[in-house]
């Protein structure tokens, strides 16, 4: 229920105001999209370099290895390897997934889907993007410092991330970049929360919001609460590095007084566990909606899905200790964290059941957004279930810090989020840019990606079970890992296949932008508010603020007149 009047200003005329320093949520969303895709490319190349080193240790990296590492004849050196996995993690989480899923879809979809003309705070929105650009610049700059970029893992545990373990200025810049990005994301989060609360179209209750908005909203709430915690941790780490404080220093290195490196782990994971839900909640929301739209029937138990996402949001704040089972926490804490972690499986079961219930007895159209959504259900099923091993203390004693963990969190955070993000891009492309993407190429892209990513992440689960631990420059230093070489090689080829598959997306995306088929106003025949306006969405979206009269998933109603199988949210629900 809009709390206040939303004025329409004239559309900006100059290039600078229209495309660069724009207040328009749609433009800012697209800016975040470019930003995210740029970093996704960098992070992806880093992933391939990591995989190359693991499968072919001591072999020169092809194509540009000689250019990057002339001293070693193209072979990735061990210190660079540490930098690569650190920045791969950082970039993928904070600079690729966050901008695409939260920055792009959050900005683009929230106002359109709730019938608002813009965000509640347009200038904070613009500032949030430009602060993110600043943060990205600082991060990239850290690579060109004398001792290279950060190399302590994306978790950057002290004391490795203090001057004891990483003396270079690169680690300081890395920490600063994360802090700045935290400011940007917090700003965005507050904007999203306020927008959802104050600017919903008249008649739209919370359960009339599409589940995409639910996911993005819950994400924003977690972001607003927990990013400042990470910011505080980063700031303390910067103090330790620059001003000589001892928050996280202990042992022989703590010359005066004692800090505690474990304090950082607590601070980091209080943020870090909600972070994984911050990344996945938007994808869950998108998938929940798309499954319903393309099955041509209402979302099964939509209210229960929204509520189970909410309970996961709450539970996610209480379970972070399962990242620290091997630090000799008190058994009481260990047991409580394990029990709480396990309870997450109940709400997860609820929305899995609802997802499957949505496609049950539907009339399923396998357009590319639907394929990607079904892909998310598949890979998140695997990712979620493998989490059971790691939430259990005793099995975690063996699997902690092995490739099993890597496989698990890539299934949940990388595979699901990537597929969910692609589903969103294929689905909202018409509304964002007014063009359709090529369906045939999109399907090739889907199957190659699906094949590649399952090869990679399933392989990681297997080598992890075989005992291979993480972040090894050359795992075959250990005798008991010798037998895993062929599987590692297989993982690398799968990764190369998956990387290759993304060229189909790039070609499709650029081709659509340049000379794609012009999109209709409502190509997918769905009734949420963004499809009631022309494609691409016009300045200030809605000429008249819409009045919402029914839910977002009104599809397949038998009482509808012949020739229509959906109704817009602005229409009175047709009753039999």
């Amino acid at each position: 229920m809009a709390f206040y009047e939303q004025h329409i200003h004239e559309a900006p005329k100059t290039f600078l105001k229209k495309y660069v320093f724009s207040f328009d949520h749609k433009v800012i969303g697209k800016q975040f999209l470019w930003y995210g895709i740029f970093f996704l490319g960098i992070g992806g190349i880093m992933a391939l370099m990591i995989r190359w080193a693991l499968a072919f240790p001591g072999v020169a990296f092809p194509v540009f290895g000689n250019f990057l590492f002339p001293e070693t004849g193209g072979v990735i050196p061990p210190d660079t390897y540490s930098m690569l996995f650190t920045l791969h993690g950082t970039i993928m989480i904070f600079y690729a997934i966050t901008p695409i899923l939260i920055g792009c879809f959050g900005n683009f979809c929230i106002p359109l889907m709730i019938g608002a003309r813009d965000m509640a705070f347009p200038s904070a929105n613009m500032l949030s993007f430009w602060i993110a650009v600043l943060s990205g610049a600082v991060l990239l700059a850290s690579l060109f410092t004398p001792l290279g970029g950060a190399a302590g893992g994306w978790t950057s545990y002290p004391t490795l991330s203090t001057l004891i373990g990483s003396p270079g200025v690169g680690q300081t810049l890395w920490t600063l970049a994360i802090f700045i990005l935290g400011v940007s994301s917090t700003m965005g989060a507050i904007n999203y929360i306020t927008t959802v609360i104050t600017l919903r179209a008249p008649g739209m209750g919370y359960f009339d919001m599409p589940l995409t908005v639910w996911g993005l909203w819950l994400t924003a709430i977690l972001n607003a609460i927990f990013l400042p915690v990470l910011g505080a941790g980063c700031l303390l780490l910067i103090f330790d590095r620059v001003f000589g404080t001892h928050f996280f220093l202990a042992g022989a290195a703590a010359t005066s007084g004692n800090g505690d490196p474990i304090l950082f782990q607590h601070v980091f994971w209080i943020f870090g566990h909600p972070e994984v839900y911050i990344l996945i909640l938007p994808a869950w929301g998108i998938v929940s909606d798309l499954l319903s739209f393309f099955s041509r029937k209402p979302a099964f138990g939509a209210k229960a899905t929204a509520l189970s996402m909410t309970s996961i949001t709450i539970l996610s704040t209480l379970v972070y200790g399962h990242h620290m089972f091997t630090t000799s926490m008190s058994p009481l804490l260990t047991q409580s964290f394990m029990t709480l972690t396990m309870t997450i499986s109940i709400p997860s079961t609820v929305f899995f059941f609802n997802w499957l219930g949505t496609i049950w007895r539907g009339s399923i159209r396998f357009d590319s957004p639907m394929l990607f959504s079904l892909g998310v259900v598949f890979v998140f099923g695997l990712g979620g279930l493998t989490g059971l091993y790691l939430g259990t203390v005793t099995t975690d004693l063996y699997l902690h810090d092995t490739y099993f963990v890597v496989g698990h969190f890539h299934y949940t955070m990388a595979a699901s989020v990537l597929l969910g993000g692609f589903a969103g891009i294929y689905f909202w492309m018409p509304k964002m840019f007014g063009v359709m993407m090529n369906e045939a190429i999109a399907k090739v892209h889907f199957w190659i990606t699906m094949l590649g990513l399952n090869g990679v992440f399933m392989g990681m689960l297997f080598v992890g079970y075989g005992g291979m631990h993480r972040r090894l420059y050359n795992p075959f230093w250990y005798d008991f890992l010798q037998k895993l070489i062929p599987i590692n090689t297989f993982i690398t080829w799968s990764a190369i296949l998956m990387g290759f598959g993304q060229f189909f997306f790039l070609y499709n995306f650029i081709h659509a932008l340049l000379k794609g088929k012009k999109a209709e106003d409502n190509p997918w025949n769905v009734g949420t508010l963004e499809w009631t306006i022309p494609s691409p969405a016009p300045n200030y979206n809605f000429k008249d603020i819409p009045v919402v009269k029914c839910g977002p998933h009104e599809l397949g109603n038998p009482a509808l007149p012949e020739g229509r199988d959906f109704q817009y949210q602005t229409e009175e629900l047709v009753k039999a």
Binding site: V350, L356, G357, R361, L385, T394, R470, W477, Y478
Partner: protein
Amino acid sequence: MLFFDSAKAATTDLDPVQQMSFWDRIQPPVDISANGHKIMDLFNYTTFMVIFFFILVCIGIFGFSYFYSHKRNKKPYYTYGNKKSHKNVGLAFGMAVFILIDCAITIQSNNDLVNTFFNFPKGEEVVRIQVMAQQWLWNIRYPGADNVFNTDDDVVTINDLRLPIDKKVVVQMTSKDVIHSFYLPNVRQKRDAMPGRLSRIWFELKKTGEFDIACAEMCGTHHYIMKGKMIVYTQDEYDSWVKQANQVALSANDTEDPDLYWGWKWEE
């Protein structure tokens, strides 16, 4: 470049493992501990549950996609999923997950944790070891002839841990610089070694031979070469090794060197 040469040597020396099947390859290293099977049993139970529920998900995804595709099913079933029967089926799945997975695993794991893995053995029979990790090696300390740690006669080794079979072993550890993790793949356990803190782990070995000690926590550029050897002896072999090592320590330890005394007073 030394590292790269040895890396190549490692990858070409494949002969004994070249004929392995996929199944053999993914098996964890041989379990040499008395309690490692508890972890593996729970792992296997979880795996059965995971496979069972994942098959259900797959039946949903692929079965429904097949039977309810637009081609086969023109008229979708218009429902919000709020009928009594829908809720009951959902509830049944929730309960199945709660009982078969949550309760079963949590109870089993809690019991193992309290009764075994965190139930540290005490008394004179226990073999006591102190470990101090540093970049990138393991300092290992035995109490020596007087059975007291941090004294002149301690046996101090690097990356060389020798233990007797069938004895309970308690290792206390800390770190000099950054966080490391004392990982014994053959024992199915690991524990973080942290600067400024003591952590501990216990296990009992059931097989003699030579095994790897690995560092599982990222600890810097050469994290991957932080490898120690654990040699498991029979009781007789161990006793004679300890006797010999104690003598060597008495004569070889440089008692003027403050670096020798990195140990601490043992507290149960």
